[in-house]
């Protein structure tokens, strides 16, 4: 039986639990809204630790760098935040979505 969604290796939620259990500081990013042709569906996760290690995907590579940087802050402060990315936003040019879509990503600490 292929139980892809519950295999720890490629399941960010399982990995978040394991990393936290190992004593690492962990943040979880979740795609909570999409507009247009977003690369990853709503509910997709990225798990990040305080050293910037990560697994999973919220955009297929377009904005992961920015999410990881923000996640390290969220781990420090403990305060959740919501990030928006899209080509419509001038300031997001460098980390924008080349597909023309727009996504909202919720980032929270696992504590």
């Amino acid at each position: 039986m292929s139980e892809v969604a519950t295999t720890p290796i490629d399941d960010p939620l399982m990995l978040a639990e394991r990393w936290r259990g190992e004593g690492r500081d962990v943040a979880l990013a979740t795609v909570v809204q999409t507009w247009g042709s977003a690369p990853r569906p709503i509910g997709s996760h990225l798990v990040i630790d305080s050293d910037g290690n990560f697994e999973g995907s919220v955009s297929g590579g377009c904005v992961e760098g920015a999410v990881i940087a923000e996640a390290v802050d969220v781990i420090d402060t403990g305060k959740p935040t919501t990030l928006e990315f899209g080509v419509a936003d001038e300031t997001a040019w460098r980390v924008g979505l080349s597909c023309g879509g727009k996504i909202k990503v919720f980032v929270e600490k696992v504590d």
Partner: protein
Amino acid sequence: MKLDLLTTLNADRAARRAVILLTDTETGAQRLIREAEIDQSDRPDLYRALIRAGRSRALKDEEGGGFANVMVPPAKLVLIGAVHISQALVPMARQLGYDVTVVDPRTAFATPERFPDVELLAEWPDDVLPDLGVDRWTAFCALTHDPKIDDPGLIHALRRDCFYIGALGSRKTHARRVERLTEAGLDAATIARIHAPIGLAVGAQSPAEIAVAILAQITGALRLAPEAA
């Protein structure tokens, strides 16, 4: 997210139970809605609809606001019968995202040549079904036309509360099946859960068309509210 909430959530997912994680994206406050506890929850209709749709989404203010992460186990499809219809069904079901298993004790039918790239068990249903984890997120089709093979499979599927159970055969064949299952001790309401003749009535002729009719009926059982299915 609190670690104990994450641990609970992961345990539910590993056990193939559907859950909804509700998040207030302003404050980070979260709670878990388990499918089994929906009746006692604050918005049973909304949560049931979210699980049927199997899609995460932002909630409107009148729905309580925030974000609903809907986590539903990957659906399985178990086919009893390595028959011609199954050959057409397997690739279509895969396209729809099902984990497919084909069971048929007749080794002349259950050959890897006829069923490449799919879990194929040339065994009796009674021997292998208990280990397949047939559950509420499983669709089950009995397609051999042979009661010795189909009936034990159907009884197992009914006991495991599969979301869809279908059996190939005419109305006459099904009437005899109902008699046998009644003799085996199943009540009328339970037996009535079997879709037979199998598939939506679309006038299907070829094995591929019958496969389409079956998958359309399975999709309805998965996605539509019970009163509409």
